[in-house]
């Protein structure tokens, strides 16, 4: 349940009726979250097999955030995020085969194998990356919001970043301009409690990240990011407000990543018990599964059918990613400049 906590200017109120949720919607969120979970598990396996190289940041545990936020977007809306981006791409409707093939560095990847895990884009799906410099995507997302306003196209820019990026100076430069010009941007802070190996308490003088916009009059709200329904509800209000020209909004998603920062992270900065407790008590997929079964929306067999379908999609993506050829050596020198 989202909790309205902005002391400065709570423009986004959590009160009011929850939107009615249909059976199809429940099942879609379940399927989308499961797709991300299974995709990331498979990516982790393939990394271990040496099929994926470089940096690879898994989204396992945080699935409810993107799936809940995506539920409220329209075709003209845009998404930009950091390097922990596989989940965002799948939630935006990008083809798992193209994402996985980019991870394996093959020509069937979204960036033809030239971007890798952190750098994928889809103009078609209005997904603007995939950025590797902590905090740098925040001004970029603010600029995309500027383009929505400039064109008057009614679009909203969803700009995701983490609790690590939140201390970057350019984030506040962006907040200032977004508030000054009332840009249609939602800053989604995915607070998974660790910026690489440094806990939020050790990095942030104040850990109420939803309040980080208060100096600029930007309303903020903290949301249970492990609960897809809470995210959806908060997202619905935020998107509606931004679309109505009320300016920027901050949503702080309280979430958790089960895996290390990247594949090479032994995660010694937190206890196994802490991780286990989150998994057993707060897992977003299990929580929704229970809601679906308790509410008699679909039977256990119905969910198993979804599990099988997701497994099939992931297997196919993994096969595609391994069979797609490496980029043609001639690709080394393409896409540097646009030929005028």
């Amino acid at each position: 349940m989202a909790k309205s906590s902005s002391k400065a200017k709570p423009a986004v109120k959590s009160r009011g009726r929850k939107p009615a949720v249909s059976r199809d919607e429940f099942l879609k969120y379940y399927k989308d979250m499961l797709l991300i979970r299974r995709f990331e598990e498979k990516a982790g396996q393939m990394y271990g097999m040496g099929l994926i190289g470089g940096f690879c940041h898994l989204y396992i545990g945080q699935e409810a955030v993107v799936v809940g936020m995506q539920a409220e977007l329209e075709a003209q809306d845009t998404v930009i995020t950091t390097y922990r981006d596989h989940g965002h791409m799948l939630a935006c409707g990008m083809d798992p085969r193209g994402v996985m093939a980019e991870l394996t560095g093959r020509r069937g990847g979204y960036s033809k194998g030239k971007g890798g895990s952190m750098h994928m884009f889809s103009k078609e799906k209005n997904f603007f990356g995939g950025h590797g410099i902590v905090g740098a995507n925040v001004p970029l997302g603010t600029g995309i919001a500027f383009s929505h306003m400039y064109r008057g196209n009614g679009g909203v820019s969803l700009t995701y970043f983490g609790d690590g990026a939140v201390n970057q100076g350019q984030v506040y430069e962006s907040f200032n301009m977004a508030a000054l010009w009332q840009l249609p941007v939602i800053y989604v802070i995915e607070n998974n409690r660790y910026g690489m190996g440094t806990s939020i308490e050790r990095a942030s003088a104040n850990t109420d990240l939803y309040r980080r916009g208060s100096a600029y009059g930007i309303p903020g709200e903290t949301v249970d990011g492990m609960d897809v329904m809470a995210v959806r509800e908060a997202g619905a209000k935020a998107v509606a407000a931004a679309r109505a020209g009320k300016g920027p909004i901050i949503l702080e998603m309280q979430t958790y990543r089960y895996r290390g920062h990247s594949m090479s992270d032994p995660a010694k900065y937190r206890s196994k018990e802490e991780v286990q407790k989150m998994r057993s008590e707060k897992d977003p997929i299990e929580t929704l599964r229970k809601t679906i079964l308790d509410g008699d929306h679909v039977s256990e067999d119905g969910l198993k059918e979804i599990d099988r379908e997701v497994k099939r999609v992931i297997t196919e993506a993994a096969e595609f990613a391994q069979n797609s050829p490496e980029p043609d050596p001639a690709e080394l020198y393409t896409d540097i400049l646009v030929e005028a």
């Binding site: 979204y110 884009f121 103009k123 950025h131 970029l140 500027f146 100076g169 000054l180 393409t334």
Partner: protein, 454 residues
């Protein structure tokens, strides 16, 4: 003892101004802080305040006088008890007798002949008009904004203030605040915002008050603007121009005097332009705005006020990536860009007097570099002198030397000579700053050295 009121310098690069208006009349009492007159420069209208008290005894420069040199006495202030009669003996106060202004603080006074030596684009034979570089840049932006609603200008003081250096004068009036946007002083943020807008298909012109401040934003210029097209497999483009003055102005110290040509030219995914003449400033800026890639457009504050013949044709566009031979010669090739073209042409004049025929090439675009024009010239002259304001290490001159080794080695009769800024942070003192920047004589000496003449 009467006090001379001198024409003040109102900015680091001001050398002259117009005396727009006297606000005090002869015989008026004046106390320190009173506004005496209004001075108009190419950048702004400023007030001249009295520094002493007394009576305005005589106005030496009437209002409406144009091009009054800095330090010219413009009035005489009489101290208590003095009589206007003393002025009768003060013939040395008359403007006619004013000593030439001391050490020029800006580009040397030999600008005029140098400008005359540089013809407009060779293949252009249409009508031209006299425009300053400042006006040419403004016209280029205005014309491109008229033809494409996706083009907008954003930066510090570009709108209401009319540009810190008045380059954007009049644009707010014509295009309104939707398209001419004053930003907070947050280079990193507004540069990233501009790049994001470009990802989404707009065509921003991001003005930096100087490129020195763009260092705050260089991550967004390189990591976001220059690399994303490649990282996205060609899906995302950044049609964006980063422009503003680059390099040294005049005694503004180390943090405001750096040349960034080699920094940006190092990076694939960027184009880098550094024009000299107003015609090129206009034609190249129009090309840069139309180019579907990120373009770093390096201007020079000392050139803003200089005037050149500029084609009047609306669609006069100078293609990026083409150097210009601004002076033909046979004995030695001198390559330069931006303000250094002026020095190079001056050097060529001096060399001509000593029987050395120098060919001067204005690089205009640093990346992609017009290697063919340079190599063709060196195959004729067999000698190359590279001139730049920037530091020598890994500079544009270093690149010239490498290109000569790779593509013209057998034609060289002497090692490539580099004339560059001294390898030091820019000093403030006038004499030290002069020593730190390439001077005409340095170029002459280098040309003679590679010609084995002394």
């Amino acid at each position: 003892m009467s006090i001379q009121v001198l024409m003040p310098a109102l900015s680091p690069t001001m050398t002259e101004g117009n005396l727009a208006k006297w606000l005090k009349s002869e015989g008026d009492d004046v106390v320190a802080g009173d506004v005496l007159a209004e001075i108009e420069t190419d950048k702004a209208t400023m007030e001249v305040e009295a520094a002493d008290e007394g009576v305005l005894g005589q106005i030496l420069v009437p209002e409406g006088t144009e091009n009054v040199a800095v330090n010219t006495p413009i009035a005489v202030l009489l101290e208590e008890g003095e009589d206007a009669a003393v002025l009768k003996n003060g013939a040395d106060n008359a403007p006619a007798a004013v000593a030439p202004s001391p050490e020029p603080m800006t580009a040397s006074k030999s600008v005029a002949p140098a400008v005359a030596a540089v013809p407009a684009e060779a293949d252009y034979t249409g009508p031209t008009t006299r425009l300053s570089v400042r006006e040419a840049l403004r016209d280029a932006m205005a014309e491109e904004m008229r033809r494409d609603d996706d083009v907008f200008l954003m930066g510090e003081e570009v709108a209401q203030y009319q540009g810190a250096y008045k380059v954007s004068q009049g644009l707010l009036d014509e295009f309104g605040e939707r398209r001419v946007i004053d930003t907070p002083i947050t280079e990193h943020g507004f540069t990233g915002l501009g790049v994001g807008a470009a990802f989404a298909g707009l065509k921003p012109i991001i003005e930096f008050m100087t490129f020195n401040f763009a260092m705050q934003a260089i991550d967004q210029i390189i990591n976001s603007a220059a690399k994303t097209h490649y990282m996205s497999g060609g899906q995302i483009t950044s049609q964006i121009v980063f422009r503003g003055p680059n390099g040294a102005a005049s005694r503004v110290g180390a943090q405001h005097s750096q040349c960034y040509a080699s920094w940006y030219a190092h990076c694939p995914g960027l184009k880098v332009v550094a024009p000299y003449s107003a015609a090129d400033a206009k034609g190249l800026l129009k090309a840069a705005i139309r180019d579907p890639n990120p373009v770093v457009f390096l201007e020079n504050e000392l050139l803003y006020g200089q005037s050149f013949d500029v084609p009047t044709e609306e669609d006069y566009v100078v293609p990026l990536g083409k150097a210009k031979v601004v002076r033909k010669g046979d004995d030695v090739t001198i390559v330069a860009f931006s303000l250094m073209v002026e020095r190079a042409v001056e050097a060529a004049d001096a060399l001509a007097g000593e029987g050395i025929s120098a060919e001067v090439i204005d690089l205009r675009t640093i990346r992609p570099l017009d290697v063919e024009t340079i190599v063709t010239s060196v195959k004729k002259t067999n000698r190359l002198v590279s001139v730049e304001e920037g530091w020598p290490f890994a500079g544009i001159g270093s690149e010239m030397a490498a290109i000569m080794m790779e593509q013209a080695f057998d034609w060289l009769d002497a090692p490539v000579a580099r004339v560059n800024g001294a390898d030091v942070p820019m000093p403030y003192a006038a004499n030290l700053e002069r020593l730190a920047l390439p001077q005409t004589k340095d170029i002459v000496d280098a040309a003679k050295a590679v010609s084995y003449r002394s």
